[in-house]
């Protein structure tokens, strides 16, 4: 469960990126986060992953106030949350396999079945043929799928995807979305920041809408806008 309580995030003195945001995402929820460019979606995700600190307010993940975490406790929070980053954040010198494997090692689950899990994750996003390539040898969409595979391989209880279909063609985008729906059905909490109107409108799930850092709509079964 993620609880965001009256959070303000001001990077600088101009307008804050998040302006008194409160919301609650329960376990097993499937939530879309929408809003125009610069609305604050990525900022919210960064705060939940404790990559940035809120200016004020608090955030609870599974009952723990993460703004109070000590340095050494941050890794275990991040292992609980799998993030698909908007800019992928792949290790530039590692191959596709190594990138996915690395996530498994980080959570300490790279055991006997490790290689198999890595291969399965890569297979799931359709990149088996590219497994030995490095990020700069991949197309934009392929890089995005590596990011997805790396997030899913560890089976985290919470998955946060930031614009996971931005570089994917509609078909691959749909497959990705179905994948997220499947893992949600198996118990994973899923939060997706997206601009993909088609997907949001078709899936009719809970939609949280941000505008200039404020929550302007939080609707179960909503569409992309209005």
């Amino acid at each position: 469960m993620i609880i965001v309580q009256d959070v303000v995030k001001a990077y600088d003195e101009i307008t804050p990126a998040l302006d008194h945001v409160s919301l609650q995402i329960n376990d097993r929820d499937f939530v879309f986060l929408v809003g125009s460019s610069g609305a604050g979606k990525t900022t919210l995700i960064r705060l939940i992953n404790k990559d940035e600190e809120p200016t004020s307010g608090s955030i609870f993940v599974d009952g723990v106030n993460i703004t109070r975490l000590k340095r050494g406790e941050v890794p275990s929070l991040r292992r609980k949350i799998g993030v698909i980053f908007q800019d992928f954040k792949l290790l530039p010198h590692a191959t596709v396999s190594e990138n996915v494997e690395f996530a498994l090692r980080v959570v300490g689950e790279h055991d006997g079945r490790g290689h198999q899990r890595v291969e399965e994750a890569i297979e799931t996003v359709g990149l088996s043929a590219q497994a030995r390539r490095r990020p700069y040898q991949l197309s934009g969409g392929e890089q995005q799928r590596v990011a997805i595979a790396r997030c899913l391989v560890t089976d985290p209880p919470i998955v946060i995807a930031d614009e996971p279909t931005g570089n994917l063609d509609p078909d691959t985008g749909w497959e990705t979305m179905n994948l997220l729906v499947r893992i949600n059905a198996m118990g994973t909490t899923v939060l997706i920041a997206t601009h993909n109107r088609e997907l949001v409108n078709t899936m009719r799930r809970r939609v949280i809408s941000l505008e200039d850092g404020k929550v302007v709509r939080d609707e179960v079964g909503g569409g992309y806008s209005g």
Binding site: P75, R78, F85, K89, L91, H93, A103, R105, H110
Partner: protein, 296 residues
């Protein structure tokens, strides 16, 4: 089991990254090697000079010229009584012939003078080296009280004083230079590591975002630093030991008029010390270089 896998991963990752950044690895090794070669050559030279100064300082500091007419038996008795004193380290009787020979040997470019002079101008003497310089003047006074045996007593206070000044200067100067050069060496090596890590800051940032612990991120860097330091220092140790073995004897024979002595033991210790330093500098340097990117 999990811990063992992690350690294996860290070591593997270290070697993987060394292999991937081969050029950086190579230049880091060479940088460490040459800085340590410069530094340990300097240490070796300094040690040799130290020994040389020590050897010079160990020379006679009191000479009593013996009356030509003194009976040998009394001189022998005198020598024995003096050598019995606690503050005397060494006492030597130098005959007239020996004195002339010594002059010829130590100052060969003036030796021809003796051939020109034709007579031997040197009197016999008793040369004393003190264990404790404090006793020097009292001993001189004592000897002066026996004019029948001793013609004149010379205390080389001037020479001793000057030598001590030179030796102190050399020690202080050497110390300052060693510390400065050591600092330069450390700075250059640390800086090389720092820049190498800097170019991988993005990687560090990504690892952290995925939830890697500090040691998981840092481990490979520290191991890599230690290995690079070890190889670099190893090259330096080989170069210094081999170089010393080759240059030492040549030098010794060339400047035989100075009490130079090759200290193979010192150089071996220096090599081991260098290796240890290499590993330490490499790993500690990496540790701190990475820490900067872990903390913000």
């Amino acid at each position: 089991m999990a811990r063992f896998r992690t350690i294996r991963y860290i070591i593997g990752a270290a070697f993987g990254s060394m292999w991937r950044n081969l050029l950086t690895t190579f230049t880091a090794i060479i940088t460490i090697a040459i800085m340590l070669i410069v530094f340990s050559t300097f240490l070796a030279v300094n040690d040799t000079l130290d020994h040389m100064i020590d050897a010079l300082g160990r020379r006679t500091n009191l000479v009593a010229y013996v009356q030509d007419a003194a009976p040998p038996s009394e001189i022998t008795a005198l020598v024995q009584s003096v050598s019995a004193r606690a503050d005397v380290a060494e006492i030597v009787f130098v005959s007239r012939e020996q004195a002339a020979d010594d002059f010829r040997n130590t100052l060969s470019d003036l030796a021809e003078i003796l051939d020109v002079i034709e007579t031997n101008p040197f009197p016999a003497s008793i040369e004393v080296r003190m264990a404790d310089p404090e006793g020097l003047l009292p001993l001189a006074d004592e000897l002066r009280l026996q004019p029948a045996l001793i013609d004149q007593v010379l205390v080389r206070a001037d020479v001793v004083g000057r030598l001590l000044r030179v030796s102190n200067l050399a020690r202080i100067g050497g110390g300052i230079l060693i510390i400065s050069l050591g600092a330069v060496t450390l700075f250059v090596i640390f800086n090389t590591i720092r820049l190498a890590v800097y170019s991988r800051r993005e990687e560090i940032e990504i690892m952290r975002l995925i939830g890697a612990t500090d040691w998981f991120v840092r481990g490979p860097f520290v191991v890599e630093g230690a290995v690079i330091g070890f190889i670099g220092a190893g090259l330096s140790a080989i170069a210094v030991v081999a170089g010393y073995a080759r240059v030492g004897p040549t030098l010794e024979s060339l400047v035989s008029f100075l009490p130079i002595q090759t200290q193979t033991g010192f150089v071996t210790n220096l090599a081991l010390f260098t290796m240890l330093m290499g590993v330490l500098i490499g790993s500690v340097g990496s540790y701190f270089s990475v820490r900067r990117y872990l903390e913000n």
